[in-house]
Symmetry: C2
Subunit: 368 residues, 2 copies
Amino acid sequence: ASNRNLLVLPGDGIGPEVMNEVRKIIAWMGKKRAVGFDIKEDVVGGAALDKHGVPLSDDTMKTALEADAVLFGSVGGPKWDTADFTKKPERGLLRLRKEMDLFANLRPAKVFDALVDASSLKPEIVKGLDIMIIRELTSGVYFGEPRGRHTNAQGEVEAFDTQRYTVPEIRRVCAVAFELARKRKNKVMSSEKANVMHTGVLWREVATELHKEKYSDVKLEHMYADALAMQLLRAPSQFDVIVTDNLFGDILSDEASMLTGSLGLLPSASLGAPDATGRRKALYEPIHGSAPDIAGKGLANPLAETLSYAMMLRYSFDLGKEADLVETAVENVLKAGYRTADLLAGGKTDGVKKVGTQEMGDAIVKEL
Amino acid sequence: ASNRNLLVLPGDGIGPEVMNEVRKIIAWMGKKRAVGFDIKEDVVGGAALDKHGVPLSDDTMKTALEADAVLFGSVGGPKWDTADFTKKPERGLLRLRKEMDLFANLRPAKVFDALVDASSLKPEIVKGLDIMIIRELTSGVYFGEPRGRHTNAQGEVEAFDTQRYTVPEIRRVCAVAFELARKRKNKVMSSEKANVMHTGVLWREVATELHKEKYSDVKLEHMYADALAMQLLRAPSQFDVIVTDNLFGDILSDEASMLTGSLGLLPSASLGAPDATGRRKALYEPIHGSAPDIAGKGLANPLAETLSYAMMLRYSFDLGKEADLVETAVENVLKAGYRTADLLAGGKTDGVKKVGTQEMGDAIVKEL
Ligand SMILES: CC(C)[C@H](C(=O)O)[C@@H](O)C(=O)O
Ligand SMILES: CC(C)[C@H](C(=O)O)[C@@H](O)C(=O)O
């Protein structure tokens, strides 16, 4: 046994395709670097709905809880769009996040030099951009109770959701942000709507206190979420680490990833609390969705899944060197001009080789 | 009497300065076009805290409710930053919105040809951009009860906010969106997080039903708020009218306005329901804030307040011709190269005349 238990959940749409390319890299790592995994594979999302009638079975949930890491593809597609709220493919992902207690979602927004022209933004604004957004992932309005629908006192149908945050929930995710900032540019921007929401007021207080208590060497600032949405466009390079709640994080990290012009390149890590041995439960997934429009056509970009795998090597197995190898291979392949379709829109076309999913995967393995 | 009762609330920071320039245009309209107003003026925000100990006095509230329109500047500043939740300058604005029942916030994001280079985005992406965001402004998490802070069953301090939407609340704001779309490119994009929030599910249902019932000639589509945050960057020109809730609207409209590269140019209108005579309560305000860093220095851009006044002429007093005059004057002054400091960052500098607040105001009057 490798002592590295990995659960692979390719999911729907382009998930299985991009995961196939990562398998090639996993095989390479086993052969050339003696980095092996005990791999289980299972279904999630629409695939699980088809097979088990639920977006994540209890069995799969159990396997995920026992694994050292989960490598996730993507879920959803038109086939399941009409499913009702509790049976949507996304609920499978939300259940994994919640029951594995993956409270810290790390979403890097990094601009690769070779792709600086692919962004909608002017190159001088995004060149060298390297932001890390930490999104709280297990609380807030995503899970707060009560939620639902009823007829109110005026006889009107009304829907409601509850945003809740406790002090420990805010503290632990802010701690992750401060720790990460220390390994980067030592700056944290905390974001909420403390001018409007009580959860925002508490968030700001807790971030400020924790900073004073334990992380006063890190620079901490606060910005309202609406102002942050603006500043991400005006001058994104002012940011290093951004920490925010589940809902603001959902929107702001998507905005930030679009700054890079290359959604097909962006990985993410979702981490739990360290256990007695220091190991955190973890799930790694690309930022992009299941892209049903291009699924099965060999057009999908496997690099976001590849970089998610690299994040896994780094954060779950302390294999920083191997992670570097993969990340450098991605950079070199981009420098060499390899582009899947998603990276071509708006970018330069001279010296560019248009490739499909498999060719891109092969190029990475060759580069390794 | 003019039969046009206007309440002017300059507020804090640059609010009074930019309002002074609009006064010149109001005077011009009275003299040259016989468009007069009965004007009352009062304090709001920090100025009201200083004078009355509250961010909006009951007297001012009463005057606002009696007025045909309120022309608002901006509120807030470091002096009042430490005020607690219910005594922040912003509460004055929130009270006006709520008690005047201004449920439809119209926020145009328009790129002026003369300023296409001022955006962080590539000119080919934003050229000709003309989006109208309709943000619900009197409900959702901004006002939902219960909200506050307590110690939960686990003995942890916890804060909570409630997002609520009723069917009539969603219907009336979507109706405004459909009506406006008919006068524009006939397309509405409705946005929520129906994959995660119950209010989002209801929002989508009500928008879909209303569309089928009364507005099937308009094209209606739906997009999750996170996806919209991305698409606003990737291909903003795909949108015509966007309708969304209070919190998503706050963030997305700020992102959209930043696409234009010229926050100092963007007005907004907040409208209530039409009364028996067809008149709607209304408040007009620039998108920009009180900008305490440049307040009192004669640097502020008065054009957003000027264009807010133009929106008022159009929406509250049916003076479309006069509104056109003002809007054309703004365009011409920009074409002629007049720029306040905020419009210079990143833009072209050839043929440009750098001006202060008063010179810009004078240039508009001269152009008129
Ligand atoms: C699929 C959806 C439930 C999810 C979310 O809203 O969290 C997605 O947008 C994300 O950011 O991972
Ligand atoms: C000042 C603040 C309360 C306000 C809001 O959040 O609505 C502002 O950001 C706006 O968009 O008008």
